[in-house]
Amino acid sequence: MSVYINGIGVISPQQSFDKNVLQEGFIGKEGNKWLSVEPNYSQFIDGKQIRRMSRIIRMGIVASLLATREAGIEKPESIIVGTAFGCLEDTHSFLSKLVQYQEDMLSPTAFIHSTHNTIAAQIALLFHCRGYNSTYVHRALSFESALMDAMLLIEENSADDVLVGGIDEITDASFTIMKRIGFYKESEVNAENFYIPGKGSVAGEGSAFFSLSRIQTASSYAKIAEVESYSFMNGNEVVEKAKELLLRHNIVQPDLLISGHNGDGANDKENDFFAEAINCKNRLLKYKHWCGEYATASAFATWLGAEILKHKTIPNCFSEFLNPDERLNTILIYNQHKGIHHSLILLNHAEL
């Protein structure tokens, strides 16, 4: 059963909270830490509430507001969030005070907000939403898990619409630690040299929220036909699963593959293998050179896929990766992490 994407709100290292950005073109980023371009939050959130909200919560709230407003939804029936690391800044704040003050005089606000479901909870408070509310925290599959749950909810008739999001943030501490572990490149990176194979990628972050419904509306971007995730399967097994998925939807080959290449040699080998195996080497779109690498980056990709299907055109800033094909009805989004976690999101044109 397909589900319509009727509203989207995105905050990312691009000025994506303003949808005109796709016409104007993305801006090449530099450095190894790509923070979000953020809106003026006080335009969206009341001063009394905003004071207690850390940055990631604001990103989640505003992206949710943008998505629901676009969909014409006053109050979502259900809210599901995917976030691998949750509110890192609050976690760090509480942890560092714990160490500094040796378990004394600790601020409750940081602790309360360190729980991973704070973002989903704050959104529920904002909308006075008493419906189903969940938060998925499974690494690179956090957003996909949230999406699968949302589709299941609609399929079960437990909700007619669901607000779903993928969100993760960079903090100074998390960047330092992840850099030490080897997730990020040592050298300076920009959009031009991003995919030159090396070790590591670039730190990105973002918040992308989608208002989903069983009902098509004038604002519908596209349909989500299916979402699947696989863990501890090898590349060949995943390719088989992908082919089965496509077959279920009578698709021989998707019109476009949006792939999570991230500039890390080992990572991109897996992605290249998949693209080759499903004959999409020449109909391939990479995107992490615009948003960086983070666990829920596939939510950014889902926004892009939805925009492409809605307007039946690929934005200019992606033109160097593919030979534009006139047919743009089906898009497959593939992401994987360390060859352990793989995910597929199949998007169809809304009229299909």
Partner: protein, 401 residues
């Protein structure tokens, strides 16, 4: 026709026992698992009694055959998950479309807080192996890899309702026909992070907690892990499994009132319990026992009590909070109490409150104070309510023909 969902196995470890049998004995002997910590290195060790699993990390590593140095989260999770599947026919989980859904509120924080001691002094110091356990999904992956589980794997984190939500998701995936078997539950270790966090909210009791009691002073933190093996009725029949009971109802709602406190009238709990009853097509009089969330805090017990009375009136069934024995095991509590509830149906048990003297004023809600066995137990309701207003109720029933 959608499937029925059966509970085909349980695995559990908590302050009151390392499996179901030990736990039942502890209830029988009316011994609380809440005591001074043996293993958690905290300045509050003399102040706050805790529901601690009675093994050190080294002991858990030795028992499980895992490496020492792993987070306590991984050790506890693996212990319980392995126990849950050990009575299943060999190769069943690799033959079927199997899923693994775990839950945790703090992941490998026991290791992270140790890492931070060094990191705070110098950002280039601290053993990176510790911090690689940090995220909530780490233990899930580790356990699945060890148990040879592939396919659908995920982790939920909704504070104290986390593992109840794992079980609910598992059931939904089976009913939808997407999976045949799901191992669902959760884990949380004791950490300085959570102990100090709850203390900063001033809701931790310095003595044995007294859930549902007028003079309650807060919760005792606990730790543990539990997993249920959920299967469809077709699978249970096909493989001659002996299920404990059926999961007939579940409901998740959001109280949407405050980040940490439930609404006075208990709206979230009211909607969760009502929703579960509606799904299982049961009347209030059909419920034979309620395992309350019952943390021992002023707010939870009052709100939950009010919601209970709104639904059941004064003819509520026997009820209790087993957190008075295990402590509040946070992300594990939903599954630990689901395991107790499933066994309650299987064996006809009503669990007691460890300590109780006076009912909450204005509510007249009296928990059971002694364990009862060989009871006629057809349906059990289990509640789990977490920060962020996340409220989940599960109903376990004798298997319906």
């Amino acid at each position: 026709m959608s499937s029925s969902v059966y509970v085909a196995g349980t695995g559990i470890i908590s302050a009151i026992g390392n499996n179901i049998s030990e736990s039942l004995n502890t209830f029988r002997n009316h011994q609380s698992g809440i005591a001074k910590t043996q293993y958690l290195e905290t300045r509050h060790r003399e102040t706050f009694p805790l529901g601690e699993v009675k093994f050190s990390n080294e002991e858990l590593a030795a028992i499980t055959g895992l490496k020492s140095g792993l987070s306590r989260t991984i050790l506890l999770s693996y212990y319980a998950a392995k126990q849950a599947i050990e009575s299943l026919p060999e190769n069943l989980i690799t033959t079927l479309r199997t899923g693994f859904i775990s839950a945790s509120s703090v992941g490998g924080m026991d290791k992270t807080e140790s890492f931070f001691e060094d990191f705070m002094k110098d950002e280039q110091s601290g053993d990176l192996r510790k911090v690689q356990h940090h995220d909530c999904g780490k233990h899930t992956d580790y356990v699945c890899e060890k148990l040879g589980i592939k396919g659908f794997i995920t982790t939920i984190s909704t504070a104290c309702s986390s593992s109840a939500n794992s079980i609910m998701l598992g059931a939904r995936l089976i009913k939808s026909g997407k999976l045949d078997l799901v191992i669902a539950g959760g884990v949380d270790p004791l950490t300085r992070f959570t102990l100090n966090g709850f203390n900063s909210l001033m809701i931790v009791d310095r003595n044995q907690c007294r859930p549902l009691d007028q003079s309650r002073q807060g919760l005792n933190l606990g730790e543990g892990a539990a997993y249920l093996v959920l299967v469809s009725n077709k699978i249970a029949t096909a493989y001659n499994l002996e299920p404990l009971c059926e999961l007939t109802g579940y409901c998740n709602t959001n109280d949407s009132h405050h980040q940490t406190a439930l609404s006075d009238e208990g709206n979230g709990p009211y909607l969760a319990m009502s929703g579960a009853l509606k799904m299982s097509v049961l009347n209030t009089s059909d419920i034979n026992y309620i395992n309350m969330h019952g943390t021992g805090t002023q707010n939870n017990d009052s709100a939950e009590g009010k919601a209970l009375v709104r639904i059941f009136g004064q003819t509520y069934p026997p009820l209790s909070s087993t957190k008075s024995f295990t402590g509040h095991t946070l992300g594990a509590s939903g599954a630990i109490e689901a395991a107790f509830s499933a066994v309650a149906v299987q064996k006809g048990i009503i669990y007691p409150n460890f300590s109780f003297t006076e009912a909450m004023h204005g509510l007249s809600v009296y928990p059971q104070v002694k364990m009862l066995e060989n009871q006629e137990i057809n349906h059990v309701l289990s509640n789990s309510f977490g920060f962020g207003g996340n409220c989940t109720s599960l109903i376990f029933s004798k298997i319906r023909a």
